[in-house]
């Protein structure tokens, strides 16, 4: 009779990435660098679709309020932080990233990490939405930092010449603005170095994304939503190259050994929109238990344009004007259909985010068009990325269950 009975612990349904340790380290370092830049009066806050390579090439530190919103959501304090903004008069209908940000500036001592480090400039690009301008105006009132708007009018179809010219002038004004505000200069040599680093990170990142075409998929939604943080916030720095190389190595090793992100992959779905940060693990891991994996999404694929060519600024204009959210509904439908076909997906889940009108508008129509073109079913669930007060789990559950029953 054996003295010790060894019971093998059941393997978790969700396999954590080893490269997450490195991710945490660089995100911590990034935060420290932000504080240092702020102390040296050299910090700008930027929107997620801003051509960050330019401030980076001019030696300006950057922090991302949208990423801070994701942190607020993950720490489940969205209702509190949004509430601080609502107390001073902002509507509950306003973007919850904006409310978290305005709320944290209002009450830093009651906010995660005591809020983002104080900015000396606010750089907004409206290629992701029009709210960013008013939001940064509000933060400007609170902090005194000046706002720079890079205006990128929406595009339907090909970008016309006059549009390119207009955005190009905006880039010139940006360089002037940063020069004046931070007493900094932009050299072609430095811009080339930064663009090369940015392109390298993006190339490594998109290779990891593309590896999810394999079955089983080496990454699930939550993996990508966490791993995208450096490519969103630190494009153009060498700090992140190591991480994306390590991630790609791990992803390739998973593919080679047929190891999936989840233990038992049965159904492959597309995710559309920002995730519910306040429930990200519970949500995706809960579905993983039922064999549902998300090999692709429309969000993390948004950072995929590499700045290249003889005229780097022309490339900047093209990449930042043509982001997913700055284009018409047709382009969004095309992208979803392309992902469903390329990644061999069985259906799609669209998250209608109450605060993000720009991303969510048109989902009813696109759902119909995507099903018509691909023949796969989809469902829309409603909620919010940060504000968990508008996330009704029972209603979401019924919709998802009904979708999954279509595959039985």
């Amino acid at each position: 009779m054996p003295i010790l009975t060894e019971t093998k612990k059941e393997e978790k349904v969700y396999r954590q990435l080893e490269s997450n340790t490195l991710l945490q380290q660089i995100m911590f370092q990034y935060m420290l660098e932000g504080h240092q830049a702020s102390e040296e009066k050299h910090l700008a806050w930027v929107t997620s679709g801003f051509p960050v390579e330019i401030p980076v090439a001019m030696g300006v530190g950057v922090s991302y309020p949208e990423q801070y919103g994701a942190v607020v959501g993950s720490q489940k304090v969205g209702p509190e932080l949004c509430g601080y903004a609502e107390e001073i008069g902002y509507s509950q209908e306003l973007c919850s990233y904006a409310r978290s940000s305005i709320g944290s500036v209002e009450k830093p001592s009651e906010s995660p990490m005591e809020g983002l480090p104080t900015p000396q400039a606010l750089l907004a690009c409206n290629n992701i939405c029009g709210t960013v301008l008013r939001w940064y105006d509000a933060v400007s009132e609170q902090t005194g930092a000046p706002v720079f708007l890079l205006d990128t009018p929406p595009i339907d179809g090909e970008q016309p010449e006059h549009h390119k010219e207009y955005v190009r002038r905006g880039i010139d004004r940006l360089v002037d603005f940063l020069g004046r505000t931070f007493n900094a200069t932009l050299t072609e040599k430095r811009m080339r170095e930064v663009a090369a680093l940015s392109s390298k990170a993006i190339h490594l990142w998109t290779s990891s994304l593309a590896a999810c075409k394999n079955t089983p998929s080496p990454l699930n939604c939550a993996d990508r939503f966490l791993a995208m943080a450096p490519v969103v916030s630190m494009r153009g720095t060498d700090l992140i190259i190591d991480f994306y190389q390590t991630l790609l190595d791990e992803v390739e090793s998973r593919v080679k050994n047929s190891i999936g992100a989840i233990r038992d992959e049965k159904i492959r779905l597309l995710w559309d929109n920002i995730p519910p940060w306040h429930a990200i693990f519970r949500f995706f891991n809960g579905l993983a238990k039922r064999g549902v994996v998300f090999p692709a999404d429309t969000y993390t694929h948004a950072w995929s344009g590499a700045i290249e060519g003889d005229d780097l600024y022309e490339s900047v204009v093209s990449i930042y004007s043509n982001v997913y959210l700055n284009k018409g509904l047709d382009a969004k439908v095309d992208k979803m259909c392309e992902l469903i076909e390329d990644y061999n997906l069985d259906g799609f889940l669209m998250f209608s985010v109450r605060s993000c009108k720009r991303y969510s508008l048109g989902q009813l129509i696109s759902k119909e068009l995507v099903t018509e073109r691909t023949g796969v079913p989809g469902v829309i669930i409603e909620g919010d990325m940060v504000d968990s007060r508008v996330f009704n789990e029972a209603q979401i559950q019924t919709r998802i269950d009904a979708l999954l029953e279509m595959f039985i």
Binding site: L364, E382, N392, Q395, T398, A402, M406, I408
Partner: protein
């Protein structure tokens, strides 16, 4: 395939149970208010089915559905009301491709595929104005029972306009009409027309395919049937017991399985 199957539908307002045999003949059914305890409702339904069918229910597979579906302890599996309604209606009338179910606290529009399974659906569970609750509130304001509200509305020759899309504000509007001395029949007609318009727009989102089937407790209301048919411009098909189709579908699944 088992000899019998039981479907239990725990809705927000009523709980329903259906016992079927394997020819899909209904042996017994029972409906009651869900009340505060879903599990007590399940117990009562099982007792009623057992006594009316004179069968021993032990060993008969149970499928649960409805908002309380996960809390039915003896169920083999819980299946959403979307799939159950679809399967239930298909077992009664395989030609139906569009189902509108108006329950106590939500409404749903389901496109049914050729095999009887849902292929698309839309739910309204954010706003009470498109649900049975809307009619209950309005019946209360007009001082009639819920069963009297539909027949009253059908007497109207000149329906009142209810412009609000919210139960609370529509209630104020109805109170205003009463104060202005409007005929209760006209007000009741306006209430039904307003609710039908809301549900018709949900239905148009999924795409109206004739004939349209209406289920749920509200399908028993003749004025609602009249106005929804007018709004959609189509004839309706209504099962004999429109409140039971979810439980019926669950019982069919209990016999044939989800993929059967």
């Amino acid at each position: 395939m088992g000899k019998y199957g039981i479907g239990i539908d725990i809705g927000s307002t009523t709980a329903k149970g259906v016992l079927l045999d394997n020819t899909l003949k209904i042996i017994s059914d029972f409906i009651m208010p869900t009340g505060a305890s879903g599990s007590r409702a399940v117990e009562k339904i099982m007792d009623e089915i057992a006594s009316s069918s004179k069968l021993k229910l032990k060993g008969i597979p149970i499928i649960s559905t409805g908002y309380g579906r996960t809390r039915v302890e003896n169920a083999e599996q819980s299946v959403t009301e979307i799939t159950c309604h679809s399967v239930g209606i298909h077992s009664l009338n395989p030609d139906i491709r569009l189902l509108i179910d108006v329950g106590g606290q939500d409404s749903k529009v389901i496109r049914i595929g050729q095999d009887g399974r849902p292929v698309d659906f839309e739910l309204n569970d954010k706003c009470s104005a498109g649900t049975g609750r809307f009619l209950e509130v309005m019946a209360g304001v007009l001082g009639v029972s819920i069963d009297e509200l539909g027949p009253l509305a059908l007497k109207s020759l000149s329906p009142a306009t209810i412009s609000s899309t919210c139960t609370v504000f529509a209630e104020s509007e109805v109170v205003g009409h009463i104060g202005a001395g409007k005929d209760p029949a006209d007000i009741a007609a306006g209430v039904h027309a307003s609710m039908a318009a809301k549900i018709a727009s949900l239905s148009k989102r999924v795409g109206t395919v004739r004939p349209v089937c209406i289920t749920g407790g509200v399908a028993l209301n003749p004025a609602f049937r009249y106005y929804i048919s007018k709004q959609l411009g189509t004839e309706l098909w209504i099962p004999e017991k429109p409140q039971f189709t979810g439980a019926l579908g669950a019982a069919v699944i209990a016999i044939r399985g989800l993929s059967g």
